[in-house]
Every structure is written in C-alpha cells, then in structure tokens.
C-alpha cells in the first residue's frame, strides 16, 4: 500500500517536462503558420491596396514591365487545370480504390499498392519531364495532324491546359486512391453483410451502401487532391506553356497554353523588380486565401459526415 501511495519521481518529472514540451511544439507549428501568413500579406497587400483588389482579380492582362497586374488569366489557368485533373483523376482513383478495397485478391493488391506508393514519391519535376516527352508530344501530334484545321495557330505547340490537367491527374491519383481506400475499408462490415443478406449483388452493395457510407472520407480525398493540384508548381511549368492569357475559344481552349498562379511566382521571382516582386507576393496572398477557403470546406464536409 505504502509503495502505491508514494509517487514515482521519474514518471512525475517526465510528465512535468513532457506536457510543456509538447505544448511548445504544437505552438511552434501554429506560430509558423501565422508567421507565413503575416509575411506574405505584409509583402503582398500594398500592391492590392494600390491597384485595387477588384482590378487585380479581374484584370485580364499581366504585364509587369508596364505595371499592369491583372491575374485573372492565372486564376483561370489554375482552376482549369485543377478541375480537369479532378475530372480525370477522381473517377480513375475512386475506381482503383474500390478495386483494391473490395475486389482485388491479396496477391493483386500486393502488386498494385506499392506502385501507387511509388507514384506518390516521385518528385514533381519528373512528372514534368514525363509530361514534356510523352503527353506534350502526343498533344502536339493531335494539334498539328488531326485538329490543325480547327485550332488557332497559337494552340498548336503541345503546351496546353489539357496536358497540364492530365499530368496533374496522375499526380493526385495516390492521394485519392489512398484516402478513399481507407474510407471504404472503414465502412462497418455489418453494412456490407446486411446489404448482401438482402440479396444485393456485390456491385450493388458497393454502389448503394459502401460508397455512400464512405462519402465523407471520399470528399476529403477529393478536397485534399484539389489542394495538391492547386499548389502544384514545377510539373505544370514544364507542360502548360506559361502564357498568361485568357483562353477564349470555347471547348478548344483545352488546347490553349496557359499560366498558373504558382508557376508565375516561381518563374518570375528571379528577375522581378520591387513592384513586380510585391505583385508576385500578392499572387501568394490570393493562393493562400484560396487554400484556406478550401481547407475550411474540407473540415466542414468531414464534420458533417461524422455528425450524420
């Protein structure tokens, strides 16, 4: 009894140290986020103030040397490639996740899963190289040999929104596959058994019970993938052409070269003068806000999923 009552010194001490230490680290992570936000805003906001937020966000031309800072083309470019990537990547990724979680034998999964892990680890510049030599070559062939009659000349050099979307689609696959597969596996077995016992086929069970039950996880997967796509810089610089112009040929705009928010910052920062530099920071502010907005959507979606 005596022994039990006596507090153990070491465990007490480690408790005393561990708690503040862990708190300190958590605080550091938080402060770094705040600091990043602070400096980006500090550098970027003056330009926003000077030229007016509306003029910048809706300005159709970006000519830093003449002091014209409209970023609508880059916003459009970023969103076009992102949504294209999701439109291609989500169905593919989700199908793969369903296959791995529900249909694949252990043996098959053992071959496919490491390949997907590897896909996640490939540096983005390598994706860019792949995009240049494979996708862009193919696009150039299509644009010059097949669609030459309908495409305007500036859309015929391979660098395009479609190439960017395809490269990005491959890059977001691991995110979508891994998170959706986990979500699908987390669906209680009893749901599946209940559905099968009512006479559902396996596919009906997947489509009507398992996927709806995994909905919130799948939504998080899509939103995380979207975040990844919005932030991707290097691979896109290499395939998209970096032309800050609004595409305006309807559906043919898929073949238009474009520029993204991230790519513009990365490419121009090296030679930017003071005001140009501040303008690039302002692009950073816009990106920051978009990502923050997206994150809050993601959290709301996940929370609603859990609450249901």
């Amino acid at each position: 009894m005596k022994k039990l009552n006596k507090p153990c010194r070491i465990s007490q001490l480690s408790d005393k140290i561990a708690k503040p230490l862990l708190f300190g680290m958590a605080l550091t992570a938080f402060s770094i986020t705040v600091l990043i936000a602070f400096f980006i805003f500090q550098q970027g906001l003056p330009v926003l103030g000077e030229y007016g937020i509306w003029n910048i966000l809706t300005g159709k031309s970006w000519r830093p040397t003449e002091g014209i800072y409209g970023i609508l083309p880059m916003i459009a470019g970023t969103f076009y490639v992102t949504f294209l990537a999701l439109a291609i990547g989500v169905p593919f990724g989700l199908a793969t996740a369903v296959f791995l979680a529900e249909l694949a034998t252990e043996k098959t999964a053992r071959i496919i899963r490491p390949a997907i892990e590897l896909l996640a680890g490939i540096p983005s510049v390598i994706y860019g190289l792949f995009g240049m030599v494979v996708i862009n070559e193919a696009m150039r062939f299509i644009e010059r040999e097949i669609l030459a009659g309908v495409l305007p000349p500036e859309y015929r050099w391979g660098y395009s929104i479609l190439s960017g979307g395809m490269v990005l689609a491959i890059m977001i696959l691991p995110t979508i596959i891994n998170i959706s597969e986990d979500a699908i596996r987390a669906v209680p077995r009893s749901y599946k058994e209940g559905a099968l016992a009512l006479g559902s086929s396996h596919i009906q069970t997947i489509l009507q019970v398992i996927l709806p039950s995994a909905k919130s996880g799948i939504i998080s997967a899509v939103i995380l993938a979207m975040g990844r796509a919005l932030g991707e810089t290097m691979a896109l610089i290499m395939v998209i052409g970096n032309v800050p112009m609004l595409p305006r040929h309807g559906i043919l705009s898929l073949f238009a070269p474009a520029a993204t928010l991230t790519g513009t910052i990365a490419l121009e920062m090296g030679y930017a003068g003071p005001e140009h530099r501040a303008a690039l920071f302002m692009i950073g502010v816009v990106l920051f806000c978009i990502i923050a907005l997206l994150n809050s959507f993601a959290m709301a979606a996940t929370r609603r999923g859990v609450g249901k």
Binding site: P188, S190, Y191, E193, G194, A195, L196, A197, L198, G199, S200, S201, Q204, Q208, V209, P212, S213, K308
Partner: protein, 254 residues
C-alpha cells in the same frame, strides 16, 4: 423430427475454416412455419451453421463445405444456384442492429429497390406494411426521413427486421437478434417473432436458454461443431436425452 413440410434439410454437413472443422456431420430437418432455436456455448458452431443456410459464409474466403443443404428440396450449394435469389428468400437479422446510414424509409425500401421495384407508391406501401409487421410503424410513421442511426437499439433491430420483411423472404434467419438489446426491447422482439411465425419459417440462434424455451417450437443443442441433440423444445428442456444437453441447460457449463 418435424414430420411433414420440412423447409430446410441438411445432410452430413461439414464445414471447415481453413483446416479447422467448425461443423461436423450436421443432419437436421427444420419445419416450415416453425420457430427453431439453436443453442450452445460460444464457438459451438451455431452461428456458422446459420450462415451456411444463406451462404453468408461464402464471403469468408478460406472455407470448404461438404454435404448438402436443401431448401425446399433443392441443394443451395449447387453451382447453378443464384445466390441473390437465395438470400432474398432467406432473410437474415444480425446480432447487432445494422441499419444503413440512411433514412428509415430508405432502409426499408432498399431491398425492394434493388430487386427492381421503382414505383414510388408501391415502395411507400411496402415500407408501411413492413414497418407495421415489425411493430415499428407507430413509433416512426411521422419521421420516416430521419436517419436510421438516430433510433434506439431496439428500434434499430426492429427496423432491420422490417428491412428484411420488405423483400418478402420465406425464412428468417436470426443470429442472436436480442443479444445487444435491453430486456424490454428483447421482449418486443420476442413478441414479434411469435407473430411472424404464422407466415415465416424462423431459425434463431440464441445464447439465452430462457429465450429458446419461451419462443421456439424446436431446439437444437450444439457443442464443438456437433449437433448433440435436436427435439421439441419442451423435451429438450424437461427431459433431455443426452448428458451434455442436460449439463448445459442446467447451467453446469457454457
């Protein structure tokens, strides 16, 4: 045992999980529109046996089955049997209530929908009828669009029964349907079973011997994968023939 109108007959049924033999030479005849209870200690094979009757064990992978399971005189393990039709006919209620995370209405309408009923009015009728049959209608009729997971455990289990009834099965396989419920909910389910046996053949696995005694017409006692004794329920509980049955029902083990 049950003389005429046998719904389910098994002949020399053996069942293996990998190398482990979970069922040994089960021969049983289960009467139509009777309540048959399977009792026995945990791990005796009673749930495994129940699951061979609608081929739910097929999901497990490393399993092997020998012998025959005849339902309405046709072998359900023949290769040309359509498992979907079989499972529709052999409704199953699980140990813990497992409603889908959808509305009450959608839960009950799920089965009819996957079996091809699209007409809204028909679905509405089926849902109402099934919920009434499961004694749940009065409690939920005003909020059929409420999420099924917000119901109490007992209500959820009755919802699961309604969901099964909606596909018009002929047999109800119940795997310890009250083990996760409180006594009052248990009583309601037992009353429901008494009512349902007018129309359905019911096979119920239970841990609870009083429950078997209260609701079943026939009782089978399982031990270590064998069916030790099978008889009218009153015989099993008043004059068991096998020493092991007697030991079990008098509480000497299990």
């Amino acid at each position: 045992m049950p003389e005429k109108n046998n719904k389910i007959i098994t002949e020399n049924l053996n069942f293996y999980y990998g190398k482990f033999q979970a069922l040994k030479d089960i021969n049983i005849k289960i009467g139509e529109k009777k309540v048959t209870a399977f009792i026995g200690p945990s791990g005796c094979g009673k749930s495994t046996f129940l699951r061979t009757l609608n081929r739910m064990n097929d999901l497990l992978g490393e399993v092997r089955i020998e012998g025959k399971v005849l339902i309405d005189d046709s072998d359900i393990y023949r290769s040309d049997v359509d498992v979907v039709t079989l499972r529709k006919k052999m409704g199953m209620v699980f140990q813990s209530p497992n409603p889908f995370p959808m509305s009450i209405f959608e839960n009950v309408a799920y089965g009819p929908k996957i079996h091809g009923i699209k007409n809204k009015n028909t679905l509405q009728e089926i849902v109402e009828k099934s919920l009434k049959q499961a004694f749940l209608w009065d409690e939920v009729k005003d909020d059929l669009n409420k999420n099924a997971l917000s119901l109490s455990g007992g209500q959820q289990q009755r919802l699961c029964i309604a969901r099964v009834l909606a596909v018009e099965p002929e047999v109800l396989l119940m795997d310890e349907p009250t083990s996760a419920l409180d006594p009052i909910s248990t009583l309601r389910i037992e009353e429901l079973i008494q009512d349902l046996k007018k129309e359905y053949t019911i096979v119920i696995v239970t841990h609870n011997m009083q429950q078997a005694a209260r609701i079943s017409d026939y009782t089978a006692f399982f031990l270590n994968g064998e069916m030790v004794e099978y008889d009218r329920t009153e015989n099993i509980f008043t004059k068991p023939k096998d020493k092991r049955t007697e030991d079990y029902i008098t509480g000497r083990f299990g």
